[in-house]
């Protein structure tokens, strides 16, 4: 494998690796659910607002959707901290490397998310201020949605890049990392999942008893709204399956294994009954069967959990060799550090016994930084000092206690009141005898 092999951080993991992995899978899934709801909500609100230009009831719907977005987006951020922490812990050599390689864009995530959130607040809190300028309002919503759509692409690029150390040397900045095989497919797969999960969420949400009372539609029927979301859920599922297949076929071989393939198939097939139920709901006229909704959500939840495990499995496979090589290198390095440290200690003892002049070590400690034997550095060279103070060791002591300001292009030398007269005399004698 022609990949850079760095060293790991030489401190033990804070918990058993297995525990951290389980925490990672669980917390990541929770994070992603809220990201999906935030992202999908933002897209649906935009779509409904545009529809609202013709059918005003959709504008009311858009407002209600936005209220869920502002909650889900906060949860998406806080829930993201845990997986970030664990990735930092478990994959330090890989994750920090890939982050640095796309560093500019990675850092830009922070202002971009802040801006997107602020836009979301402007969009929601000042809803009624925009009544006469819907274009501006929709423009803000579109910008917010565009940012929400772009940010996951940065994350996707990073977590993909960290899996393949052999690609690192060919990466020059974010866009080249984004164009590595598999990123864009995975991204589309992710976006369609966001549409799928959020539309299912909104099917449930618009089925609550209080929903009608909240939105106060004038004409639109709740059943139409739910059908609208169902149609999106169905379409997104189909796209999910297609993009999923593309992702699978184009996945680099590094992380492939039978176990992983099996997990993917299991995850994919657990979504199949849901498709059948959704089809029934969409085609049976007049009513939606709420019982099926629970089953559908259960199916997809199952699929998501299995996919989450599979995703981790692939990562572990892809990095297995790299991790082994890193562990070996780190062990060797630490041994070398130990050996060099012991040598250095012996050397230091030798050095100490060699120092003959009494003032030498005090000079090295206090003065050598600015006074070199022959070269003028920060202060004048020892040669020069020797000439000025030939035979006058008391003069050096006096100066050092309270230095004056002589050389115009030099800095002011600090005084050394904390050194005793004996020490200073020893230093000055060392200087003169040097």
């Amino acid at each position: 494998m022609n990949a850079p092999i760095p060293r790991d951080i030489p401190l033990p993991l804070p918990a058993p690796e297995g525990l951290l992995e389980i925490l990672l899978i669980v917390s990541f899934l929770v994070h992603i659910v809220f990201v999906h709801l935030m992202l999908g909500g933002s897209m649906f609100s935009l779509v409904c607002q545009i529809k609202g230009l013709k059918t005003p009831d959709y504008e009311k719907l858009a407002y209600r959707i936005m209220q869920t977005v502002t909650v889900n987006k906060s949860l998406a951020v806080v829930m993201g901290v845990a997986p970030l922490l664990i990735i930092n812990t478990l994959y330090a050599p890989q994750f920090y490397a890939s982050s640095a390689l796309i560093g500019d864009m990675w850092m830009a995530v922070i202002p971009m998310v802040t801006l997107a959130f602020l836009l979301a607040y402007v969009h929601k809190f000042w809803w009624n201020h925009f009544i006469n300028i819907p274009e501006l309002h929709i423009g803000i919503a579109a910008l917010e949605t565009a940012l929400f759509l772009f940010i996951p692409l940065i994350f996707m690029t990073n977590v993909n890049l960290m899996l393949f150390p052999e690609y690192w040397p060919q990466v020059k900045g974010f866009f080249s990392a984004m164009l590595l095989p598999n990123v864009l497919q995975r991204y589309l797969h992710f976006i369609s999942a966001a549409v799928l999960f959020s539309s299912l969420f909104f099917v449930w949400w618009s089925g609550r008893k209080t929903f009608l009372q909240e939105v106060q539609f004038s004409k639109l029927r709740v059943i139409d709204v739910r059908r609208f979301f169902y149609a999106f859920a169905f379409g997104a599922t189909i796209v999910q399956i297609l993009t999923g297949l593309v992702v699978f076929v184009t996945l680099p071989a590094q992380g492939m294994s039978w176990r992983f393939t099996l997990l993917l198939m299991l995850g994919g097939s657990s979504a199949l009954p849901a498709i059948w139920w959704m089809w029934q709901n969409l085609t049976s006229p007049g009513h939606l069967i709420d019982d099926n909704l629970k089953r559908i959500i259960a199916c997809f939840a199952c699929a998501a959990i299995i996919m989450g495990i599979a995703r981790h499995d692939y990562r572990e496979n892809a990095l297995a060799d790299h991790k082994t090589a890193i562990a070996e290198k780190t062990a060797n390095y630490m041994a070398a550090v130990k050996e060099a440290g012991e040598h250095a200690q012996l050397d230091a003892k030798d050095q100490e016994s060699k120092i003959s002049a009494p003032g030498e070590s005090a000079f090295n400690q206090n003065c050598a930084a600015c006074h070199h034997a022959t070269l003028p550095t920060v202060g004048p060279a020892l040669q020069e000092i020797k000439e000025i103070y030939a035979g006058d060791s008391a003069g050096i002591v006096a100066w050092t206690k309270a230095p004056g300001k002589k050389r115009p292009d030099s800095m002011q030398m600090p005084g050394f009141v904390q050194l005793s007269d004996d020490e200073l005399t020893a230093i000055s004698q060392y200087i003169l005898s040097h």
Partner: protein, 483 residues
């Protein structure tokens, strides 16, 4: 550092973290820790006095707090992670391994805090329907205030550790790291400062929001001024305590007079700010307690700005004291562990820097090798042309005279003794000379200096021929520690 080196030459890497962190701390102190109790206090007053104006005002303040903390506040918090992991991955990576569970608890508290603030804010209107619901809602607000204080208390422990790891270097446990000698004075100082800051910031907003109802303004300002004034007394005591403990503790560890001088000037500035700030803010609060409604809004604003400046300067001194370490006595600010030095000074740092493009200094690669050495050892704190630029520093030292590489080398060799905020040079003699030659070449010509996010990293096969890391003596085998 064994990571690809991210570098922003314009604002500099340290500045990137500093801007983000200071923004975060100000928002956290002024809009969360110190402000949430004020909102709860106003809500309580509204219930007691059965006056809807108090409640409305509290809600308006909370809306601003909500908007700021859940956007800029939360994201600058995450931003500290992002920027630190880009700028000094070795340090943040080490800290995470030690403090994982501390941070994990912090995260749980953080989740609760965000959930609580959403619940508190979003249920405000519905809670008004019945007195019982309103009381529950008030309790929620008090809970929230306590939670946000706990979040701060945990993070202060971590910051305190970075300044002085206490027993951690020998014991290496989470608890020994958390309970370090600096903890309590810092926490007391921050808590009281945050309360005064939050109170003052809210007073400014209240002043703005009550401009059409001056009688009400007087009433509210009296309550909040009393509240902030009480914390002000606490702040004075805490400042004295902090000032007593920390300088003595740190000064004892500072070896050279220069450093003392340097330190005194920084700390002197903090002291001045503390005295002027405490005096001014104290006086404004005193007037405000005695004659609320008659103090001009500008005075409140100046007080808030002074408090922000105090906090900012406090953070700078705190950071400065820590130098040259990023984790006291364990790791230097250049990301290199103290224990690594003997090896790197013997073999050379380039031998062990996986992502460097050159392994060994030769007669004809000195400038480019010197650039690599600079990248590895100086760029965490210096840029070439931007903030704290090395060109500017050298110009200050040598001016227009030709920069001589021997002179520069003699300086770098000893710089940690004169300028204690810089770590000792971690490479060998050949690398020192190459670095000095590179630095001297900057007098005439400085090519743009980019980090790994633009230049990428070298192909491993291009440099592996010159590498000895593959054949690094595997001492673990001879020592019988591994099979």
């Amino acid at each position: 550092m064994d990571f690809p080196i991210f570098h922003i030459d314009f604002i500099g890497n340290r500045m990137l973290i500093a801007v983000d962190a200071i923004l975060h701390v100000i928002i956290n102190h002024a809009f969360a820790v110190g402000a949430l109790p004020v909102v709860a206090l106003l809500e309580l007053s509204g219930i007691r006095r059965k006056d809807a104006r108090w409640d409305k005002l509290a809600y308006r303040l909370l809306k601003i707090i909500f908007i700021i903390t859940t956007t800029l506040g939360a994201l600058t918090g995450v931003g500290i992670w992002f920027s630190a992991s880009l700028v000094n991955p070795a340090a943040i990576g080490s800290l995470i391994r030690v403090f994982f569970w501390g941070w994990f608890v912090e995260w749980i508290v953080f989740v609760s805090e965000v959930s609580l603030i959403m619940a508190y804010f979003l249920s405000w209107q519905t809670a008004g329907r019945s007195p019982e619901a309103k009381l529950m809602h008030l309790r929620l607000g008090i809970f929230l205030a306590v939670f946000s204080w706990i979040t701060m208390a945990i993070i202060v422990a971590i910051l305190g550790f970075m300044m002085d790891p206490g027993n951690w270097v020998t014991e290496r446990t989470l608890m020994s790291g958390l309970f370090n000698p600096m903890y309590l004075p810092q926490l007391a100082f921050r808590t009281t400062l945050a309360m005064v800051m939050g109170g003052m910031t809210m007073i400014c907003l209240i002043y703005l929001f009550t401009r059409h109802d001056l009688a009400f303004r007087t009433m509210v300002l009296r309550v909040i001024s009393n509240w902030s004034g009480a914390w002000m007394l606490g702040l004075i005591v805490a400042s004295i305590w902090y000032y007593q403990v920390i300088p003595n503790h740190m000064l004892a560890n500072i070896p050279v007079a220069v450093t003392t001088q340097e330190y005194v000037s920084w700390n002197g500035r903090l002291k001045l700010l503390l005295i002027v700030g405490l005096f001014y803010v104290g006086r404004v609060l005193w007037l405000s307690v005695k004659r609320p409604g008659q103090v001009h809004g500008a005075k409140y604003l100046v007080s808030v700005l002074l408090l922000f400046a105090m906090l900012g300067q406090f953070e700078r001194v705190r950071e400065f004291i820590r130098k040259p370490f990023i984790i006291g006595n364990y790791m230097y600010a250049n990301g290199i562990r103290v224990a690594d030095y003997p090896l790197l000074q013997r073999d050379g740092i380039l031998q062990h820097a996986t992502y460097a493009g050159i392994r060994e200094v030769t007669a004809d690669n000195q400038i480019s090798a010197g650039r690599e050495v600079f990248e590895q050892t100086c760029t965490r704190c210096h840029t070439v042309n931007g903030v704290n630029s090395i060109r500017g520093q050298l110009k200050k030292m040598y001016g227009g005279k030709p920069w001589k590489s021997e002179v520069i080398a003699a300086y770098i060799e000893n710089m940690h003794r004169a300028r204690y905020f810089m770590p000792p040079f971690p490479g060998n003699k050949a690398e020192l000379d190459a670095l000095a030659i590179y630095l001297a070449s900057l007098q005439k010509r400085a090519a743009a200096f980019n980090g790994a996010q633009i230049n990428g990293i070298p192909m491993p096969d291009k440099i592996s021929a010159a590498t000895v890391y593959g054949t690094l003596p595997n001492l673990s085998i001879t020592n019988g520690e591994h099979e």
